[in-house]
Structure formats: structure tokens, C-alpha cells
């Protein structure tokens, strides 16, 4: 049920990635694959290179060495403009916090990717409202992010990441700032929606209970993949 589409060719593949921030080596020879519709957890201690791996895979940063291939395109060779477009249309991102614009209402935050794609305000707001409904935060649509609880604002962030019907959602510690109940609600919403829509999810977490929502886990140690747990 989790693996949809052609599973023989990965949707997103990274080979031997290396990346250095200043003097610290974040990644040294990490490889990973994400198949269509799959939910993959990337775990590891802090400083093991999890976030950097996500940034490379999502085309947010270019690796120093190695290749990233998404649906036949080499992300590490694309222009910044095309990468930005990819992230806007084919990918969705959710961070621990900070991805909502504080001055915009929740519904406008969700509508923003649609507006960027040229939708009219009325249409975009209507679609955004449906997504807020799906994540159980429709009532908070006219609130600004500062007025939402942590769990609510992460659900709004999920709605924003999924509103363009992306093929992959990149989630970097999406429950990092939440208590366990709110975390459970956010994860249930993310995994449920992704499975329904056939969206692949790359989930970065240090929390085993969050990682257990995934089909598969890869574990990073010192910038390389230590173990790859196989799907159930």
C-alpha cells in the first residue's frame, strides 16, 4: 500500500554525498534512495548530518561531491531558479518551526504557494481552506501564526507543504517543538495524507516514536549511512 508507482526506479536518489560547513564535515559519502509514495525516516544523533542530507536532497544546498537525481534530473547541476521552482511545485517542506510568515493569516500562508503559481486570491484561499479542514485547523484560518499553538501551527505548515500536491514532502524534525500528544496528531495527519495522496515523505527525526511512522529507516552516523532498516 505504501509503495505506489514504479518501485524499481527510485524517485529521488543520492550517491556518495559530501558536504562541509566551514571546518565541520557534515556529510562524507552518504547515499540514500526514496521511492515514490514511500515514507522514509532519517535518524541519527545531533550533528550526524541529517539536516544537511535533507537540504541536499531537497535542492536547498548543493553537495560538494556526489550526485542527487530526482525523476531523471540532476539536482546538483540545476540552476537556482529551477531548483526554487522545483521546491515550490514538486516538493513541500516542513521545518521544526519558522516556515509560516508571521504577518500572514494561516489561510494566506497556505494559499501562498498557489498565489506564487498564479492562482487568484479567491481560488487560492478556497483551496487553502479545504486543506486546513483536512488537518483539523479550519477554525484557525483567520489567525496569525503567533496566535496558534505549536501543534496547530505545524498542521498549518503541513497544509502549506501539501497544498500544491507535491511528489515529495521533506520534513525536518516536524514535531521537534511539540509535546507527545500534539506530535502524534501532526504525524498521524502527515502520514495519513501522504499515504492517501501517494506522496513520498523524507522525515528527519531524532525521536524513535516519530521514526516508527515511516516504512523504512536509515540511520546516519558521522555523515554516512550506518544502517538501513528494511521495509515491513
Amino acid at each position: 500500500m505504501s509503495n505506489q508507482g514504479d518501485t524499481s526506479v527510485p524517485l529521488l536518489a543520492a550517491r556518495d554525498l559530501a558536504k562541509t560547513h566551514g571546518r565541520t564535515r557534515a556529510l562524507s559519502g552518504a547515499s540514500a534512495e526514496l521511492r515514490a509514495g514511500e515514507i522514509l525516516a532519517v535518524t541519527g544523533t545531533s550533528g550526524s548530518g541529517k539536516s544537511t542530507l535533507l537540504h541536499c536532497l531537497a535542492g536547498i544546498v548543493r553537495p560538494d561531491e556526489g550526485t542527487v537525481t530526482y525523476a531523471g534530473e540532476r539536482l546538483d547541476e540545476l540552476s537556482e531558479k529551477r531548483l526554487s521552482e522545483l521546491r515550490r511545485t514538486e516538493f513541500g517542506v516542513v521545518f521544526q518551526f519558522g516556515q509560516l510568515i508571521p504577518e500572514l493569516r494561516a489561510v494566506d500562508n497556505v494559499a501562498l504557494p498557489l498565489l506564487l503559481a498564479g492562482a487568484s486570491r479567491t481560488d487560492a484561499r478556497a483551496t487553502a481552506g479545504e486543506w486546513l479542514e483536512r488537518f483539523g485547523v479550519r477554525g484557525q484560518g483567520e489567525s496569525r501564526p503567533g496566535e496558534l499553538s505549536g501543534g496547530q501551527s505545524q498542521r498549518v505548515a503541513l497544509a502549506r507543504a501539501l497544498v500544491t500536491a507535491p511528489r515529495i514532502v521533506f520534513a525536518d524534525e516536524p514535531t521537534g517543538a511539540l509535546d507527545s500528544l500534539a506530535s502524534e496528531q501532526v504525524m498521524t495527519a502527515l502520514v495519513g495524507t501522504a499515504r492517501e495522496a501517494g506522496t513520498a515523505v523524507l522525515l528527519i527525526t531524532h525521536d524513535a516514536q516519530v521514526a516508527a511512522y515511516a516504512d523504512r529507516e536509515i540511520r546516519l552516523t558521522d555523515g554516512t549511512v550506518a544502517t538501513a532498516g528494511v521495509a515491513a
Partner: protein
């Protein structure tokens, strides 16, 4: 886990026969080890012997003959006492995983590989439990019992992570002792 008290608890709602008790137990405590019929009947007989339960009557309802039991006054009192009593918080620190790590150091084995394999098995079980929990239509009892197990497995995992990080020191300590 006291099967006596759980059966007494199930009887508190009214008389019931053995088969019914087993079914209700498995329903009420999903993901727990299922009760065996034999165990239900032995326990019921012990409860009657101790005066905590008594036979309510026998009936057949067209099928095989079945004995119904009900709780006594002493039984209700005992149930109330047990339900209010705290469970002793980890009275003995025995832990199979830790024992295996130490033994494997003593026997010049590979504790690190063992911990890795154990971790993978734990994660696999956590994924199963999460799937049970998030399946459509699962009731709150299922969610809560899965959560209980998930939290314990998570605690094990965290303990294994710190242990794995300190294996060198532990090896030195075990070897010199």
C-alpha cells in the same frame, strides 16, 4: 500481572461465564498476551476456593452447558484494595538486554553488533505498533495500549543508544572486575 484481579474486575459488571470472560478480556486489553481457556478456568476455581467468587448457576442456551460466576462481597473488597494499590516501581533492575551485553563482553562476543540487531528488531516492532495505532477505525483502547508499548520500546532504544556509545568504558570495567 494478576489474572485473578483482572477476572474479578470483569465480573464486577455482573455474572459471566468463562468463555465470555476470555472474550471480553481480549477485547478490553488489545495487544496483550491472549488468555488461555485453561488459565481462565483454573483462576475462576481458585477465586471460588478463596471465597472471592461464587457459582451463579449453569445454563446451556441451546449449546454446551456453561457455568456462570459472580463476584462476592469479599471479592469486591479485594478488587478495590488491589486497584488502589500502587504497582512497585521497578523493584528489581533485571534486564535481558543488559545481561546479554555483559555476557557478550565476558565471552569476547560482539556486543555492538548485538545492540544494532536488537535496535532494528525494536524499531520493527515499533513500526508494527504504530501501524496498528494509526489504522482506520482503531479505538482508543487500542491506541493507548500501543502507546504504552511504544513508550517502553522507546525507553529501551534510548538506553541502548547511550550504552552503545559507552561500550568501550563498559568493556574495560567488566574485563578488570
Amino acid at each position: 500481572m494478576s489474572t485473578r484481579h483482572i477476572l474479578l474486575g470483569l465480573l464486577a459488571g455482573g455474572p459471566s461465564h468463562g468463555y465470555d470472560l476470555k472474550r471480553r478480556h481480549d477485547e478490553r486489553f488489545p495487544q496483550a498476551r491472549p488468555l488461555a481457556y485453561g488459565q481462565v478456568y483454573t483462576t475462576l476455581q481458585r477465586l471460588v476456593r478463596d471465597g472471592l467468587a461464587e457459582v451463579d448457576g449453569t445454563g446451556s442456551d441451546g449449546g454446551p452447558e456453561r457455568t456462570a460466576y459472580r463476584s462476592t462481597v469479599d471479592g469486591s473488597r479485594e478488587l478495590a484494595r488491589w486497584a488502589g494499590e500502587i504497582a512497585p516501581p521497578a523493584p528489581f533492575v533485571t534486564n535481558e538486554i543488559f545481561a546479554k551485553v555483559v555476557v557478550s563482553i565476558l565471552a569476547d562476543g560482539d556486543p555492538e553488533a548485538y545492540l544494532r540487531a536488537q535496535r532494528a528488531a525494536h524499531m520493527e516492532r515499533m513500526r508494527e505498533l504504530t501501524a496498528v495505532k494509526t489504522a482506520k477505525g482503531s479505538d482508543l483502547a487500542t491506541v493507548l495500549s500501543a502507546d504504552y508499548a511504544l513508550n517502553h520500546l522507546d525507553a529501551d532504544l534510548r538506553w541502548m543508544a547511550t550504552t552503545a556509545a559507552r561500550l568501550t568504558t563498559l568493556t574495560a570495567e567488566v574485563d578488570t572486575a
